[in-house]
């Protein structure tokens, strides 16, 4: 099977994810979109790994999954903390790091 299809799919997923990160204001959705981007990357990694026959790509994909899991935990934690503190659940409202 041609690798192109996998890469096209991966690219589509990535762009959808990126568009979501850039446009959505709800942090939950931004987090979901981030996951989408990561998984797009995973798909490309696994596809390349399959094509080249090496194991490295799969190992990388596993590492990315682990990191994604960690990231979700922290991200959700932050969102919950914000909710508890009755802060607005809106990314554009949170720009305290402005220079």
């Amino acid at each position: 099977m041609n690798i192109t299809w996998f890469l096209v799919l991966s690219a589509f997923l990535f762009v959808i994810g990126a568009a979501g990160v850039l446009t959505r204001r709800n942090p939950l959705v931004v987090l979901l979109c981030l996951e989408l981007m990561l998984n797009a990357g995973n798909l490309a990694l696994v596809a390349f790994s399959r094509m080249h026959g090496g194991q490295a790509g799969q190992v990388f994909a596993l590492i990315v999954m682990v990191i994604a899991a960690c990231e979700v935990v922290i991200g959700l934690g932050i969102i919950v903390a914000m909710y508890r503190n009755r802060l607005p659940i809106d990314i554009d409202e949170m720009s305290e790091l402005r220079g």
């Binding site: 850039l22 554009d92 949170m94 402005r98 220079g99």
Partner: protein, 672 residues
């Protein structure tokens, strides 16, 4: 024991004395009573006896082997710079050791009583012993670096002792002035030492002098420069024009300090230095002539100012400046024996004069102004006798010590002939003024109607005034840092009499060791040190020396007679003179305006430069341009970076994405 072992002992005693007193003071309660004073005196006596030991050892040697060098350890050595911590024991250094430690011992004994009651008693004697150590190090040094160390140490000790009553602002200012001018002299010596090292490859006397003959031609430019720099050092220490301004101010120190440091020993170091480096000066007679001219100018300057000043101690101080002028003239016309002989006799009679002045000032309850003194003769017969003995020697009264030593210098100068005669005539004129001002002091202090303090003393009471600064009249207390209330006068204190008695005898009779045609003890003893002098044969004959002595004696009698006329027989003559020539009087009282000149030439420019540096260079250039430039770049850069930091997450993400896309694009284009 060898001569050099005695030399080390000479140094060890006063240093040990300093440490014992300093650490003894740390004991709770300190050392009891007058013990610090006696420890200090004992240490100096030890040094004196060791000097005698060295003298005996030296005399046992054959004449051409009377120059012993011994080094303790390598002080610093790198490349061609090799310096040992070494001492030189030869007739010249032993002579100086004897004079310094002998006079110091008597002044220590005097101080034991004089400083009694002062709250800085321990500190005083620790400093005083340290001073003697430094002075002995100076004269025993065998190379220029150790010489400079001793040179600077005496400067430091002098600073500490001038500022001894350190809560007096006048005293601390005088101390700083003395210290800074002395440092100028140190720098002169340092540069001179370099020039000598550069040309001769050595820093020890023996090496330098041995090479000098081969390396330098007659009046070689470098050598003249080196000698002039040595003279800068000598002039700064010996208070010669124009570096003399610190010495009158140094009278802020306790009177025995003035006697020891600022009359008898330290200020004569310049004379010693010229005598020590005589092989260089003989090769560079141009520099020696500068020394002779400055010495002469100084002796006239000092004598004229001493005519007008009314502060008793400052009058003696200007007299010291003037007398050292004679010594510098002496060693600069290569009359080494005569110059050093005068150094010795001057040490005796000047120390004696200061001791007498100290006694008088105590009796006056701290007043130093001669305008307020008078008629103390009956109240203090002992002091009067001693002071008069000192004044006679200073005035070169026939057959006193100053008579023989001063006139020997002038006889040598006459013998050189040519334009040196001008110097000799100026010297004789100075002698006339000297005789006049010496007895101006005697007649104004001891003759005339007794003042209140004198009458009180005749009744057996010591006058007391509320403690105050004699210079400004500021009220003071008597705690540490100010003089104690009860000062002691020679009439009552045995140690003070014990110190003044021998000095009075020496002032009157010490001249007999060297009478032309009769005895020449000093000349003979010092001969090995000056054996290489080219001017050995230019000594005047006994006959011409006696002619000089007769002239000098007559001048002295005329001067004393004039003083008697002006201050005893017809009081008020001087006042008339003052009113008739107010400009001259102001010129003299203001010490020829040297202080004002230096203030305008050096002090103010430096202060102005400091102000300019602070106000303009620091703020405009350093902070404005350099710092402003560096921080300006950072500020512009950071404000740009800040403008990107919008705080919107999507903005960051977009930038990230764009960056990745651009990077990918680059690689795509690059690979195709």
């Amino acid at each position: 024991m060898s001569g050099t072992s005695y030399g080390w002992l000479v140094l060890a005693f006063p240093l040990a004395g300093t440490l014992v007193i300093a650490f003894g003071w740390l004991r709770p309660g300190g050392l009891p009573g007058r013990l610090p004073g006696w420890i200090a005196s004992g240490a100096i006596l030890g040094a004196f006896l060791s000097s005698i030991g060295a003298l005996i050892e030296l005399q046992d040697q054959p004449e051409d082997a009377r120059s012993l060098v011994d080094s303790a350890w390598t002080y610093a050595s790198t490349g061609d710079f090799k310096v040992d911590l070494s001492i030189l024991v030869d007739p010249l250094s032993v002579f100086m050791c004897l004079v310094v430690s002998g006079v110091s011992f008597l002044i220590h004994v005097y101080s034991v009583a004089y400083m009694d009651g002062d709250r800085g008693y321990h500190r005083y004697f620790a400093y005083l012993n340290f001073f003697v150590f430094s002075m002995l190090l100076l004269v025993l040094a065998a190379n220029f670096v150790v010489l400079i160390v001793g040179w600077a140490f005496v400067g430091a000790a002098s600073y500490l002792l001038i500022s001894f009553w350190y809560r007096r602002e006048t005293a601390t200012r005088a101390g700083i002035k003395a210290f800074v001018i002395n440092v100028i002299g140190d720098v002169g010596l340092v540069v001179a030492a370099f020039l000598l090292l550069d040309k001769t490859g050595a820093l020890d006397y023996a090496g330098v002098f041995a090479q000098a003959d081969q390396v330098f031609t007659h009046n070689d430019g470098t050598l003249v420069a080196a000698c002039l720099l040595i003279l800068v050092g000598a002039f700064a220490k010996s208070a010669q024009l124009p570096l003399h301004t610190w010495l009158p101010d140094a009278m802020e120190g306790p009177t025995p300090v003035s006697a020891l440091i600022h009359a008898a020993t330290m200020v004569t170091a310049g004379v010693y230095l010229i005598a020590r480096t005589h092989p260089l000066f003989e090769l560079a007679p141009a520099a020696a002539d500068v020394g002779a001219i400055v010495g002469t100018a100084t002796l006239v300057f000092g004598a004229t100012v001493a005519l007008a000043v009314t502060d008793l101690k400052r009058t003696i101080a200007y007299s010291t400046i003037s007398q050292i002028g004679y010594m510098v003239l002496g060693v600069s016309v290569f009359a080494y024996g005569a110059g050093l002989f005068h150094l010795m006799t001057h040490a005796f009679f000047k120390a004696l004069l200061f001791m007498g002045a100290g006694s008088v000032i105590s009796a006056m309850g701290g007043i130093q102004d001669m305008d307020r003194m008078g008629g103390l003769r009956k109240a203090m017969p002992f002091t009067f006798a001693a002071f008069t003995a000192g004044a006679l020697a200073l005035a070169a009264f026939p057959f006193t010590s100053g008579f023989f030593s001063k006139d020997e210098i002038l006889a040598f100068t006459v013998e050189r002939g040519g334009w040196y005669l001008v110097l000799a005539i100026a010297g004789y004129a100075g002698a006339l003024l000297t005789a006049f001002y010496a007895f101006r002091m005697v007649f104004r202090v001891f003759y005339g109607n007794p003042v209140a303090e004198a009458r009180e003393l005749e009744q057996g009471h010591l006058a007391h005034h509320a403690p105050a600064n004699p210079a400004t009249g500021e009220p003071e207390d008597t705690d540490v840092g100010f003089p104690a209330e009860e000062h002691h006068i020679a009439e009552r204190e045995r140690p003070m009499r014990a110190a003044m008695g021998p000095l009075a005898v020496l002032a009157l009779l010490a001249g007999l060791v060297q009478v032309p045609g009769v005895s020449d003890v000093i000349e003979k003893f010092l001969e090995p040190s000056f054996a290489d002098s080219h001017f050995h044969d230019t000594a005047p004959s006994d006959g011409s020396e006696w002619i000089g002595l007769v002239v000098g004696g007559l001048i002295s009698l005329v001067g004393i007679g004039a003083a008697y006329h002006a201050y005893v027989r017809r009081r008020g003559v001087t006042l008339e003179l003052r009113d008739r020539f107010p400009r001259v009087h102001a010129f003299l009282v203001n010490k020829w305006y040297f202080d004002e000149l230096f203030e305008a030439l050096f002090v103010r420019p430096v202060a102005t430069a400091g102000g300019f540096g602070r106000a303009v260079i620091e703020t405009r250039f350093v902070q404005g341009f350099i710092v402003g430039g560096a921080t300006g770049v950072v500020r512009v850069g950071s404000s740009f970076a800040r403008s990107i930091q919008t705080g919107y997450l999507r903005g960051y993400a977009l930038l990230l994405l764009l960056g990745v896309a651009l990077l990918a694009l680059y690689f795509l284009l690059a690979s195709s």
